[in-house]
Symmetry: C2
Subunit: 593 residues, 2 copies
Amino acid sequence: MAPIRLDALSMSTDNTSSNVNSARCPEITISEYIFERLYQMGVKSVFGVPGDFNLSLLEHIYDVKSIKWIGTCNELNAAYAADAYAKTSRQMGAVLTTFGVGELSALNGIAGAYSEFVPVVHIVGTSPLPEKRSNLVKNFHHLITNRKMYQKPDHYVYEKLAQTFSVASASIEDGDIAKTCDSVDNVLESVWRESRPGYIFLPCDLTEMKVPFSRLNDKPLKKSYDSGNEQLVDSVVSEILERIYSKQNVSILADAFISKFRMEKPFEKLVKLLNDKVNLFDTYMAKGIFSEDTDRFVGTYAGKVGSKQVSEAIEASDLVLYVGSFANEMNCGFFSYKLDESKIIDLNPQYIRIGKKMYTGVTFMDVLPKLIEKLDASRINSSVRYKSIEKQSLQKVQSNIEAPLTEADLGRSLENLLQPDDILIVETCSFMTGAFQLNMNDARMVSQCYWGSIGYALPATLGACLALRDFQMPGKVITVEGDGSAQMSLQELTSMIRYEVDAIMIMLNNSGYTIERAIKGPYSGYNDICGNWQWTKMLKVFGDINEEKSRSLQITSSKQLSNLVNAGLHDEGRFQLIELILPKFDIPWHYGK
Amino acid sequence: MAPIRLDALSMSTDNTSSNVNSARCPEITISEYIFERLYQMGVKSVFGVPGDFNLSLLEHIYDVKSIKWIGTCNELNAAYAADAYAKTSRQMGAVLTTFGVGELSALNGIAGAYSEFVPVVHIVGTSPLPEKRSNLVKNFHHLITNRKMYQKPDHYVYEKLAQTFSVASASIEDGDIAKTCDSVDNVLESVWRESRPGYIFLPCDLTEMKVPFSRLNDKPLKKSYDSGNEQLVDSVVSEILERIYSKQNVSILADAFISKFRMEKPFEKLVKLLNDKVNLFDTYMAKGIFSEDTDRFVGTYAGKVGSKQVSEAIEASDLVLYVGSFANEMNCGFFSYKLDESKIIDLNPQYIRIGKKMYTGVTFMDVLPKLIEKLDASRINSSVRYKSIEKQSLQKVQSNIEAPLTEADLGRSLENLLQPDDILIVETCSFMTGAFQLNMNDARMVSQCYWGSIGYALPATLGACLALRDFQMPGKVITVEGDGSAQMSLQELTSMIRYEVDAIMIMLNNSGYTIERAIKGPYSGYNDICGNWQWTKMLKVFGDINEEKSRSLQITSSKQLSNLVNAGLHDEGRFQLIELILPKFDIPWHYGK
């Protein structure tokens, strides 16, 4: 069995040391405290937009030398970038916005991070504390008026709303300093532990509030999963082991929460212990967790939208260890998984389910290490071998459409282009279903396929590039973007020039929302977009007048595309926008081949 | 006294007839019903973005010939456009989005409409009804997962959230058809009556549900303000009249709710009745309600940020009729109004306040007509005349900065450019404070100065242009946009080409967030944006390759600018983007001159 790809990850684990030194003033501002704590959590770039309620806070970002401010064109783009930053660095992302207008604009991006379990902190500069507490009817800008406008507006309205989209929040006040700092720390620790967004609301008049510098070193932030339920863990582990030993045809289905909850190393050990006795499967969202040439790796299980042979293989198991399960529509072949509940051991970050028995006081972060410790590999039966299942490959996939260039051609070229440690970002677009069937060559995929907000991939490219740069990770960002999707967040192309990132962005010019034409209204006007965009001139207009920091190319045939890939596309040291001219209805792998 | 400008408005009042004819099938789909009702309310263009949960609904927009689908690049831009459409047409705006990702992206724009009292309907295509009702744990795309992911997600989560930002909502179900139609009608009537957003949530599986066609004609939508509290109205009116008769120096302060609640005609009558006995003032947000040459018009009251002489004049009154009062930070000179409560009769759409006495069961929509009916003009004392107060004009305003071109120059040129019935859209940017001091020449101003979300003006330009076109209103849209703001919503420039609108967009290229540099961090990096944008090539790249539908010019001196205005800038029949190269710190009228 080939090793699971963990080398890229291991490069970025030692970032918990603070960039502070003890010779400094014994007090720092709460603003600086927040940025220092972010840095300790693995944030080196903060994305966002200035606004009058966050300017004083922003002044302090320059106090923390190891944190960079990345001004984006708007707040939704900032949230997308922070999401991809966290997914790529496997640390944490941060967004900074202003009261009301800014935080609401970012909300869709935060909701996506909440649903896809991405650790993103959203820091909001709010109205001043005395106004928040006042009983006067004063209608502030950026603050929604009361339904009854003769009554006071509620300055906490957005903070209440944020609770739906976060696991913890801190609303800074001027009282007990220790408690205030605790509340900030609690947000960051919760975001880390639950891998979901949290909020810090800082009133614009409190940015200079002093807090003790010593906390930064004396109270390290907790990064651990402790159930505190050892007895339950032990009994659950015993029960799991008994099941494993008693079955003849055990499979492992590896899912996205393994990496989202940083369990790659224990998982790798588990797989090693099981040696070559069990069959290995992954899911769409865990794609890349196994090298494609891993001996016992059968394929990606995607129910009716994936390979029929792969589905039949896993469904024939008498026990499935569903590790880091992330059950959702897009990840389970549109709810077409056919695995009897009684055959599943569901190992999840919020619960363990053995057949029909549900345990909520225990998680797979507790169970996995214990399982490894107790497992007696000699007692495991060798399951059936699936030699006959062909490795998935796009070499044989054909487009249904006769054209000089199709998405099938793109798939084949990507398989040549991708190198180990690369980040492949795929937009929620016509190409996505196909992308899950690519041979990844040990590259990683970053997408927002479950939340599925189009427009994500373009700002995500910025976030992913900066994560690679900040943590000196190897690899290159390669993005597949649809033209309809790109229109949602287009302006962020300018940031590729501003921050000098060297991604490859492949723009699918197919004249509109092709993925939606496949669902409804293939010829309906609402699926058209404004045509005639001059993609190859876009980066010039956005600031790279002499093409010093980028190049832009239009590709119209598969031959041109493969020539470009062979001519060193991967190693060009500047941003590249590659426009592909594609047929309007070309979706080669649409919903089940 | 010159007439109050109502002629543009009167052109667009007769649009309540439905475009349906009785020879049709006795049943129509609920989708068509919604669009027909929108049309009856004065919506001829619906803004939005397609998504898988609204495609079936969108198919039916083509059933209603008089309604057009205006696909925008993203949902926030759609909301801004709909807001400006409603403000310009003085009818209603409509946005159509998809479940979760779409509706959340539009939220900041809806919140703005809620705060600024703009009638905008937001129609959302949601997940299917059986899924909404199901108790199964199925994690759908676009739907936020439960905090406990082993519990069912809440399909109504966004509908609950929308309640904070709307006055009414309808969640379509499959039960009683009459009740379903009533709920749709109720949303539209509430939006009209309260002049604030409402929501219609239509599950994607119910788009073909049949409803009776006859309702469209048999049950006309109510467009009236009936308090049903005649006795209270009478007593309030008597009390107001007694006050007016007893005072020596009465002023009228005309505010934004006069037009937002369609009270221009009764208000005009009131002013006529009072003849030339009282002094007239307006506010920032009501700017344009009086012609600048109206005899008794003293000026715009803006507290400490406006003219000192105007403030002294109104503050010397012994009674102020504050008609259509919209008290908020930006409209009241940052809460610097100095009017003793005892001297104010506050006539508001939600209450009447006479001195300290508050009446909530009655509104100025009830009171104004009665007041006119009962008023005996002969009993009013003539208040002091302010002959000496100079008309505000920018002719004398100087920029503080020595440069070939400044915002003061722009102000002077705008005063020459603006013609009656034009719509001047001003971004929340460095120029805004100055804009309120312009001589408007009977043009109207459309802005989002209270909510203040930068990026509004660019998509608003699209909305305003389509409103003028849809209702065949005279005038031209002229927009002043900042470069930092434009970056937020830039992609919508393409829609100017796609929908062939002929606005003039004046782009202030001052290298960043100048308005924020004035508040904090003049040299801080966070107030920079990506420079080097080629504004004059933008429209070519966005589809107008041969400059057939637009032209773009760069202006670097005040002489060039005034020459351009004199050379027929106003009457060019295509979209014009005029880039002004301005100094980084140029804000000639910043916060009090």
